[in-house]
Subunit: 232 residues, 2 copies
């Protein structure tokens, strides 16, 4: 039997994913929730602790428990590890975004755990700071998770807030960092010469249940900026 506190956590998470509880709203207190679900307050507490660890709620003593807004700056920048010289996370502004739809190729199937023939959306964009491009990125998302993404004009450029719009709760991500050389496209996008070494960031973002949600490869020039990784 699956532990009760996990079942309760998942039930609560689903309410948040479905928008039944809106971002920023307060949810009922522990006691009431416990009664509603027919569990003890200790069990409900453990479930809420887990939700907080997953960045889904914030609890403040004396005030209450609140649903997190995934489009808040802190959460949006959660997977943005590039930092400006001053140490701030560097999102930059997006230039010339492009989106296309198509069948996933071999690499995409492998990285996103898709079956051959599954549809994906591919997004290309350039990020710049002070009119100076520092990153060219290509993202690939399973079309099944983001129905109608191409047609929507709501295109946000953060996988975090995008996932919130589509009711997907994000979990962990892993990023592979290596060194490559500028292909002609990348060189053009970053105003560099072709064949120059650049840093390649290869990232997979997963949903709370482990399913891959986005595969992104970014080419960037780390001359001015740097990358920060934390280890627990």
């Amino acid at each position: 039997m699956r532990p009760l506190y996990l079942q309760v956590r998942d039930a609560l998470a689903e309410r948040i994913a479905k928008g039944e509880w809106k971002p920023g709203a307060a949810i009922a207190n522990e006691g009431d929730l416990a009664r509603e679900f027919g569990v003890s307050s200790g069990t409900m507490r453990k479930a809420l602790d887990l939700l907080e660890g997953q960045h889904l709620v914030t609890r403040r003593q004396g005030r209450g428990t609140f649903v997190n807004d995934q489009s808040s700056e802190d959460l949006v920048l959660r997977f943005t590890n590039i930092r400006a010289p001053n140490g701030d996370r560097l999102e930059g502004e997006v230039r010339s975004p492009k989106i296309t739809e198509g069948a996933a190729n071999g690499a995409e199937c492998a990285r996103l755990c898709l079956a051959p023939g599954d549809k994906v959306y591919r997004i290309g964009r350039i990020r710049q700071k002070d009119n100076k491009p520092f990153m060219f990125e290509g993202a690939c998302l399973p079309a099944a998770l983001f129905p109608g993404l191409k047609e929507k004009s709501t295109l946000t450029h953060s996988i975090v807030s995008l996932a919130q719009k589509y009711g997907i709760l994000l979990g962990k991500a892993e990023e592979r960092i290596s060194v490559g050389t500028t292909s002609p496209d990348v060189a053009a996008a970053l105003s560099m010469a072709p064949g120059i070494p650049v840093t390649v960031l290869d990232r997979v973002v997963r949903a709370i249940d482990g399913r891959p949600v986005e595969w992104r490869v970014a080419w960037c020039d780390l001359a001015d900026n740097h990358y920060v990784a934390l280890m627990a």
Copy 2:
């Protein structure tokens, strides 16, 4: 008042740090420990949960709670984010290690939170795999934390097991990744030409209480290998 479970956790951690409980040994069961400390089993449990999250103990249902051996492969490689092409963490073999002692310079004082004049040990080493050097690193450690390190022949090349020997419990680390060019020394160590772009890993490892324990700067060639960062 500091929560009881934190006080208990610290008391248990100290026993481990001091070697009162040896790595690999089983410790008393929750009930006995709770009685010994005069707390409820729930509180003792919470303290043990925290210790497990800090990689200090491992608990196995039906068997008991065991003190972790920090020199076990999993824990030693905790801060080793360079990976071989096959995905394994790449520690490599150490070649031509050198250790010196001296007063910390400005940068070292800043990164290690030392006062001017405090002594440090500086260790230089080359790491290679299959006789091919891939990383040149310079580490700097506060001498106060590692008394007599220079004289000891026990020089291990992992900060994790070294800390265990000196009764220091490690907590988090952060690594800054940027791109630099090979200085003459680095070029020689890595058998590369000078002035070539290399990846620079700048890492600070902290103790459980947040004090910096090691500042390491590593220059490496990511042509064959790559770096992996995880995001929660």
